[in-house]
Every structure is written in C-alpha cells, then in structure tokens.
C-alpha cells in the first residue's frame, strides 16, 4: 500500500510512518499538504468490506481506502445546480456592489495581489449521508485565497447593510408558483447569502487555489467562496458578484431548496420550523473495518473513521458493536485543524465470527452527541439535507 508524499511522489507506508507525528505536526504548521496514516495500522490487517453498500466510483470519497487527510482530487465530489460553466481566468471579473461606498470590480490578478491566506477545511454536501447511495460527498482541503472581511471593509460597507449575497456565473430559469395563475418564470444567477455579521467573522475566504493548484472548473474556478464550518452549498462556486443589501435575500437556494424542515416536540404538539442549511453538524462515520487472522475461533477487528463538525470541536468518539456498550475510540492528535475532520481508530479486540453491526458516534466539547436515525432530532426532520445521523456499518466476519 502506498501513499504520496506532500510533493506527489510515491512513498511507502513504512516510510511515511517513519516520518513520525512530529514531522506531521510541522507540516500542518507550515500549511503544506499534510499526509496521514492511521496510527497503529498493521501490515497484516486486511479490509472487511461493508455489506450492502454500493461500490465507490471516481470523484467521490472512497471511504474504505481513506488514508489521506487531505483528499486527492480524484476523490473530490462536485454538485452543481445550474450546470458547470467554464470561465476564462483572463475574462473573469468579481463585482462588489450594493450598499457599499466604493463599489469595485476586480480581475483575478487583482484578487491574487490582495493579502493571501490559507484555510484548511472539510467541505461536506448537506445531503451527504441521506442514503447508502450518497455517502461520499465530503473532502478535506487546503484552500488559498484572500480573506473577504478586509476587502469588504475597503469597499466601505454602509451602516444599513445587513445581508451579503454571493452570486455565481451559473444561471438558469426558475419558475415560481408553477401551474397557478400567478406563475412567473425568471432568469436568475445561482445565489446564496449570509448575514453581514457571519460574513465578517467566519474567516470567509475568496479562494482561487485548492491544495496549491488552481481550482478545477468543476470545483468553481477561477474563484469560489469558502465559508469554514458551513455545508457545501454555502461555498458558492464560480463567484462573480457580491452584493450588500439591507433586506433578506430569498433565492431558491436560501428560501426553497436547502431548507431543512424539522419538527420539535412542544408538549403534545410537534412544531415544524424551516431553516436555511448553514452550519455543518456534528458527525462521524466508520471509514473501514480491518481484521487479522482468526485467533482461537475469534476475529481481531479494528475500525478506522473520521469525525467532524462546524469547528466547535470534537471531544471524543465512541464505537459500538451490535447492541453492546459504547467503547472509546482514539482520536488522532495530528493532523488537526479547527474546521477539518479528525481521524479516529478503535481496537475492538476479538469478535465472534458472523455478521455484526458497527457504529460510531461523535460527542463535541459542549456534550452534544451525534444522534441516531431514531432520535427526534433526525426522525422529526422532513427533508434530507443535514444528514448527520449515526451510520451503522454491517460486516461479515468469516472465521
């Protein structure tokens, strides 16, 4: 099994292991591309495939071979709603307009001359985990660009501005009140918004590089918004216009799609609330199950996985076998960054041969526990976005 070093050259796992945690920490500190190997993974371990799960294809995370903390490009998903435009960098312009004293139009070169910042971040589609067919829409990256807040400050945001809208190059016709006398069809750009307060405080980035390479067209080239800790939909691709407003933007992807409808019990009543998809939720998943040769009729099993949230902080991860007690997993100390997934492992010891169900749950620093699908938090959710329930993995352990 090989990994690639930070320069892309192949390196054996043993070589990487020898590099050690100290080297890894240094790499992260230098904001280079950290590599990762699950600690303690032995050469004699072999994969136990998940039962009833579809094969993984290109351009989606291959959980069972997850070894790299920074996701390689061939496992990066992309979702687009209005097609995937190709924008020539030389013709690209970013407009900052609306409630600002000094509107600006910037070329890509002009943006690259602004202060440069790097941001490590795990980006997940809010629908990731909705079904076994959509479990791979997540990746971890180093993004490079210029921070949004000082640029907005330089434009002179007016005191009445409360909302920032981010528009992409991609556009489409949208029909409202379809098949009614009040039907209306309009041509609109893709848009998402956030409060001005959020835009200024969330380390929001205008990114033109991923992992030290220019963005690929399908990932939003030449410029995309990066909002650390927010679901993928907020990270507007092919960004071309930023508009400051004093009223709420209610485009399709704020007011109709990517709206979570969730019920909450209030006495005997369930009250449903509709909210825009924004911050990522606490989540973990077992990436793969490994085993060794049978010992005295039992199977040595170890699991590896990842946990993430909106930057609040993972306190611990626990793993359970069938209906047994929760067992603590080991969270890796490094690599580690506020808005990135953390890898974990759990040695489950010797298990009986046969089918078994393994599941993980993450617990954050405030004590919030990743729910099960049966918990009200998930069971009373009527839309599929924000799919963060515990995800049981079924495996067959042969004697």
């Amino acid at each position: 099994m090989l990994r690639h070093d930070i320069h892309g050259a192949p390196a054996s796992r043993r070589q990487v292991l020898k590099a050690g945690a100290a080297t890894m920490s240094a790499l992260v500190a230098q904001m280079s591309l950290p590599n990762f190997v699950f600690p303690g993974q032995g050469d004699d371990e072999r994969l136990v495939p998940f039962e009833g799960m579809p094969r993984t294809g290109p351009n989606s995370l291959d959980w069972e071979t997850l070894t790299e903390w920074i996701t390689p490009q061939d496992q990066v998903f992309s979702v687009q709603h209005y097609g995937s435009p190709e924008v020539a960098p030389t013709e690209y312009r970013l407009e900052i307009t609306g409630l600002v004293d000094r509107p600006r139009v910037l070329t890509l070169d002009a943006i690259k001359e602004l202060p440069r910042r790097e941001q490590l971040m795990t980006l997940e589609c809010s629908g990731n985990g909705v079904s076994k067919g959509f479990m791979n829409a997540i990746y971890n990256s180093k993004w490079t660009g210029t921070p949004l807040a000082p640029l907005l400050d330089a434009c002179g945001v007016r005191s009445e501005a409360t909302e920032v809208v981010f528009f992409g190059v991609d556009r489409n016709e949208e029909t409202l009140r379809k098949d009614t006398p009040r039907e209306v069809t309009v041509d609109v750009p893709f848009g998402r918004s956030m409060s001005l307060d959020d835009a200024m405080r969330l380390n929001t980035l205008l990114a033109y590089e991923r992992n030290d390479a220019p963005l690929e067209p399908r990932n939003g080239a030449p410029l995309r918004l990066i909002v650390p800790g927010w679901y993928g939909i907020a990270n507007v691709k092919w960004l071309t216009r930023i508009e400051l407003r004093d009223n709420r933007y209610m485009g399709r992807f704020m007011g109709r799609d990517y709206v979570t409808v969730r019920g909450r019990k209030q006495g005997d009543e369930v009250v449903f609330i509709e909210t825009s998809v924004t911050r990522m939720n606490l989540k973990s998943v077992i990436a793969r199950v490994m085993r060794r040769d049978t010992v005295d009729g039992q199977v040595p099993v170890k699991v590896y996985g990842a946990a993430w949230d909106d930057g609040t902080g993972i306190d611990r991860v626990e793993v359970r076998v069938d209906d047994g007690p929760w067992r603590p997993a080991v969270l890796d100390a490094e690599p580690r960054a506020k808005y990135c997934w953390r890898f974990f492992s759990a040695d489950l010891g010797l298990l009986e041969p046969g089918p078994c169900t393994l599941v993980s749950r993450a617990i954050d620093v405030h004590g919030r526990v990743q729910p099960t699908a049966a918990d009200d938090e998930i069971a009373l959710k009527r839309t599929y976005w924000e799919s963060y329930a515990q995800w049981p993995r079924v495996v067959q352990l042969d004697a």
Binding site: L2, P10, L47, P49, G52, M53, P54, R55, T56, G57, S60, D62, E64, T65, D74, S131, K132, G133, F134, N136
Partner: protein, 237 residues
C-alpha cells in the same frame, strides 16, 4: 428480340447481385469447423500506480484474474455468417444503490429488463446520441429497453441514475455473438468462431482498461490467448 437483348443483361445482373448477397450471408464454414478462442484476463499490479477500485474486480490480488471485463472479436470475417437473434431478455437490477451487474454485453436487438429492488426510487438514463432514454423506476418497479444497434466494444451505452450520481453501468451491444463478460475467474471462451483474421479486444469500463491483439484462427482449432493488463493499459482521456 431487341427487347430481349436489352432485358437479358439486366436480369443477369440482378441475379448476380442476388446470388452475391446470398453468398455473402451464407455461412462459409460448417458450425463444427468453428474455432475456439479461450484465455484468462489478468491484472498485474504496479505498486506505484494504484488502481483504487481493484478490490471490486480482482478477488485474488496475487493471481490477478479480473471480473467484469468484456472480451470480444472484431473483424471482416464475422460477416461470413448470419447469427440468429437472441430472444432472451437480459436483466439489470438496481440494488443497494448500484446497477447489478454494472457491466453487461448483449446482442443488437436484445432487450434488457431493468428492475428496482431498493426502497428508493431510481432512474435509468442514457445520453448516448444513438440511443438516448430517461425513465424513472419506482421502488419495486421495472421497465424494458431494447438496444437495436451495436456499438461494439469501443462504444458501450453508458447508463446512470439521475437521482444518484454514483450509480453507473455499461451495456456493450454487439452485432455478432462472439463476446463474453468475465466472471471472477477471469476466464473467457469464444466458440464457433469463423476461421479468419480478427482483432481480439478487451475492455473493462470501470477500470478504464483497454487491450487488443491481432489474431488468426483456423477451422476447428483452439487458440489460447491470455490477456495480461497493467496500469499501462489504462485508457487516457
């Protein structure tokens, strides 16, 4: 007489054309004189160039036999025969959010029955300009689709599901019966092959592997051609 002189050559020409057509369509060999081409498709690992999804298709990583590889013949000699239509309906299920099988090979004119064994709704679409279709299959439902034209090994009909981007499948459609999809043992057997010169081809769409070799077969003989591929045989964009 004059009319006869003018008409006779035309009749002869017509007869000659008819005879030539009949001669072209008639088998030029007896069925039991057909050759047999057999072999095993194997994948050879290069540790520096990892095929990430090998685990799905290569059961024994030491010996490397590849499942779901399509092996087929191409060549003018195939025109020597007529081949009865295949009435059997092929089946592709949608199960656990996956097409099962992912790779199929059928005869031109053959029908495929698509079924949905999942609780979720699925869809089957093809964006092939020669054979576009797009149909939703509710849970427990099915639909049939006939593939009238053969694209051969170089042009399978690629299928997907509009609801689930990760679902994908390939249907290879042939105008002749000399093709096979390998099982986990990697073996293929093409029997009753008309004597002649061919290009023996292999495609593994999920692995983007392509391989081919010129071969000549004679009546009644068995030819063994093992197909050994490596990352060198990965098709480039």
């Amino acid at each position: 007489m004059k009319r006869h002189r003018r008409g006779f050559p035309a009749a002869v020409i017509t007869l000659a054309i008819l005879l030539s057509v009949v001669a072209w369509r008639a088998p030029a060999w007896a069925a039991d004189e057909g050759a047999k081409i057999t072999g095993t498709v194997r994948y050879h690992v290069d540790p520096d160039r990892v095929w990430r999804y090998r685990r799905y298709y290569v059961a024994d990583h030491k010996t490397g036999e590849i499942a779901e590889a399509v092996v087929a013949l191409r060549g003018q000699s195939l025109r020597k025969g007529t081949y009865p239509a295949v009435e059997e309906v092929a089946v592709i299920d949608q199960r656990d959010h996956q097409f099962v099988p992912e790779t199929s090979a059928i005869r031109a004119g053959q029908t495929v029955r698509f079924s949905n064994s999942d609780a979720a709704n699925h869809n089957v679409y093809s964006r092939d300009p020669l054979h576009p279709f797009n149909n939703t299959i509710p849970s427990g439902g099915e639909l049939t689709e006939t593939f009238p034209r053969g694209g051969g090994i170089s042009r399978p009909v690629e299928l997907g599901c509009v609801f689930h981007n990760n679902m994908r499948a390939w249907v290879f459609v042939f105008e002749h019966p000399f093709f096979q999809v390998t099982a986990s043992d990697g073996r293929y057997n093409l029997t009753g092959v008309p004597p002649g010169e061919y290009r023996l081809e292999m495609a593994h769409p999920a692995g983007r592997l392509r391989w081919s070799k010129e071969i000549t077969v004679h009546a009644g003989e068995t030819v063994t051609v093992d197909i050994d591929v490596s990352p060198d045989d990965v098709q480039k964009d």
